[in-house]
């Protein structure tokens, strides 16, 4: 099978450039329209959040009661104003910064910590594995939302506490994926070959193991970003996350909730922002998963 697929390549071997795994992935990603659209949208969202200080027409925290709940399309306030008369566009731009930080950081933390713990448990095995994995199992006793609320509820409101509680939600998940990927790769012959060459554990892990387990872990982590964003905003929505008067999409949704009887469209905007961002991340991670040919 492999013999036949490689034969045509032999003929033009001299001119061919090597096709690395990541090159293939990039090639596939660039040919998937849904991924491209999602990627572009996400780029726009991230960029506008980054550039909020320059893009926002108003101070996000300054408002006047006279201008409360101006409708979308109002003069000088394109997206209207909130219940305190603050400019919605400015708050949405600034709020994106908060929501993205609160949603992305825990997954990033989980990716790093979870990979380290999972690879350790998977490669060392034995008692270490049992200890690490059984501890992670405990966190699986809670649905994600509940665990986040339990920890945030105990720690109290605030962005740092949100980051802590969400990291605790996502680390065990990444550990599981990292461990099973590690156990699988560890049994392959090229790891045995590296050991036979006299390489120590650090060299094997660095050059042979990580390169082959990071892909699946990355894909898994990317699937968790949208959930993390929804949860981060959800915690703020419950009053457990970012504290007022800061602009954050979940918190904005919460404070605008009472105003739906006055103005239906403006209160829907922060949630729409969460939705679009979360969907863009989901589409992107779907594309990544397909491009990397990883079954989840």
């Amino acid at each position: 099978m492999a013999v036949t697929t490689a034969l045509p390549r032999d003929l033009d071997a001299a001119g061919a450039t090597p096709i690395s795994y990541w090159r293939t992935v990039a090639w596939r990603l660039a040919r998937d329209p849904a991924t491209l659209v999602a990627g572009a949208l996400l780029g726009l969202i991230v960029l506008s959040a980054l550039l909020a200080p320059w893009l926002a027409p108003y101070d996000p925290n300054a408002g006047s009661i006279r201008l409360r709940l101006a409708p979308v399309g109002a003069p000088a306030h394109v997206l209207g104003t909130d219940e305190q008369g603050r400019d919605m566009l400015s708050r949405l731009l600034w709020g994106g910064r908060m929501t993205l930080v609160a949603g992305l950081t825990p997954v990033l933390v989980a990716f790093v910590l979870g990979t380290a713990l999972g690879v350790l448990a998977g490669y060392v095995g034995g008692l270490t594995n049992t200890l690490v994995m059984r501890t992670m199992d405990i966190f699986y006793a809670f649905p994600a939302v509940l665990l986040a609320i339990a920890i945030s509820g105990a720690l109290g409101p605030g962005l740092p506490n949100t980051l802590i509680s969400l990291s605790i939600v996502f680390v065990p998940r990444v550990v599981r994926v990292a461990e099973s990927a590690t156990v699988q790769v560890k049994s392959l012959e090229y790891i045995a070959a590296a050991r036979a060459s006299g390489a120590g554990v650090p060299a094997i892990v660095r050059h042979h193991l990580l390169a082959n387990v990071l892909g699946p872990i990355l894909v898994f982590a990317s699937t968790q970003v949208s959930l993390s964003i929804i949860l981060a905003a959800g915690l703020s929505f419950l009053g457990l996350g970012v504290t007022p008067p800061a602009a954050e999409w979940g918190l904005m949704l919460n404070t605008l909730r009472q105003s739906i009887y006055v103005n239906a469209l403006v209160p829907a905007l922060p949630g729409l922002a969460i939705f679009v961002t979360s969907m863009a991340f989901n589409l992107l991670s779907d594309g990544l998963r397909d491009a990397m040919e990883i079954r989840t």
Partner: protein, 312 residues
């Protein structure tokens, strides 16, 4: 297989104990004196002393944990700071309401999700399949608390068809259904997305197996193929259904907060607002226990359906 069942049962015990440790730790995670976390601020010195003794706050942490665990085992989850009522009573009533909501939303999501997923698989690549995939992506991406608010805006504020808040005060089935309709819809979105996706891919896996392709090529009646697909995809689908039902219980917190549905989520929301740690602990412990037992049941059920799993 029985060895597997026994092992699985034994494994649930450390998980439950671990969960209880996390719940126990909540009191100590809370900033400040743990006594402040479980007592109203205006308590008298005598009350504080009594509580200290009851909780064993003067003893080392492992002892405190055992004391607490002993009380929990007897059904004593402490007293609410806000209402001074026994937490276990509040949790019991709330849990009943939450179960109803979890059940109704699960049923809706299961029925729609399985139907949509199967249809998509049998019409792979066609418009219907694409529509189902879109539903799936939207379902898993939408913040359900926001979906709840949108539903209220549309059906309560604009159309004025359904009530926006709370459970029915009037007796009777119709008012009850009218009140539960919107929370059910909002809560069904995520599992609908997940289930559609899983059912589609599980059914496609079976459909793409060589023997099924052979059966279809031989002109086997599509109904027979359908039965076959459902039978073979069942174990995987069953797992997802069980897990999703569990998530519904925990995930309802935010939706209940939106609709003021008097379930565990609403209770949690109140407790967060009032920083009522004993209630917080009680609700989370009960829900976690429920979730672990449900996972256990799903695993065991799955071994019954597909004994190969036990050998893994």
């Amino acid at each position: 297989m029985w060895a597997y069942v026994g092992r699985r049962l034994l494994l649930a015990i450390p998980t439950l104990l671990g969960a209880s440790i996390i719940v126990f730790a909540m009191v100590h995670l809370a900033p400040g004196d743990p006594i402040a976390a479980v007592m109203p601020a205006e308590s008298s010195q005598a009350e504080i002393e009594a509580t200290k003794r009851a909780y064993g706050f003067d003893k080392p942490l492992p002892v405190q944990y055992l004391v607490w665990l002993g009380r929990v085992a007897q059904g004593d989850l402490g007293k609410s700071i806000a209402t001074r009522r026994a937490v276990v009573l509040d949790v019991r009533d709330a849990l009943a309401n939450s179960l109803v909501l979890a059940l109704s939303s699960s049923l809706l999501a299961f029925a729609l999700g399985i139907g949509l997923g199967l249809l998509a698989a049998f019409r792979q690549g066609r418009l219907l399949d694409k529509a189902a995939s879109a539903v799936a992506v939207v379902g898993v991406s939408v913040p359900h608390y926001w979906a709840g608010i949108i539903l209220i805006i549309v059906f309560s504020v604009q159309l004025n068809w359904l009530p926006a808040m709370g459970a029915a005060d009037d007796p009777g089935v119709l008012p009850y259904l009218r009140h539960i309709a919107l929370p059910t819809l909002a809560l069904a979105l995520i599992p609908l997305g997940v289930i559609t996706r899983v059912v589609r891919s599980a059914a496609l896996d079976v459909l793409n197996q060589e023997f099924v392709l052979a059966l279809r090529a031989k002109g086997l009646a599509s109904r027979r193929v359908f039965t076959h697909v459902v039978k073979n995809a069942a174990p995987q689908i069953l797992t997802v259904l069980g897990l999703q039902f569990g998530f519904q219980l925990g995930g309802s917190v935010l939706v209940e907060a939106v609709f003021s549905w008097p379930g565990t989520g609403y209770l949690l929301n109140l407790a967060i607002f009032q920083r009522d740690i004993p209630v917080l602990q009680g609700v989370i412990l009960v829900l976690a226990t429920f979730f672990v037992l449900l996972n256990l049941a799903v695993d065991l059920l799955q071994t019954l359906v597909d004994p190969r799993i036990a050998r893994h």
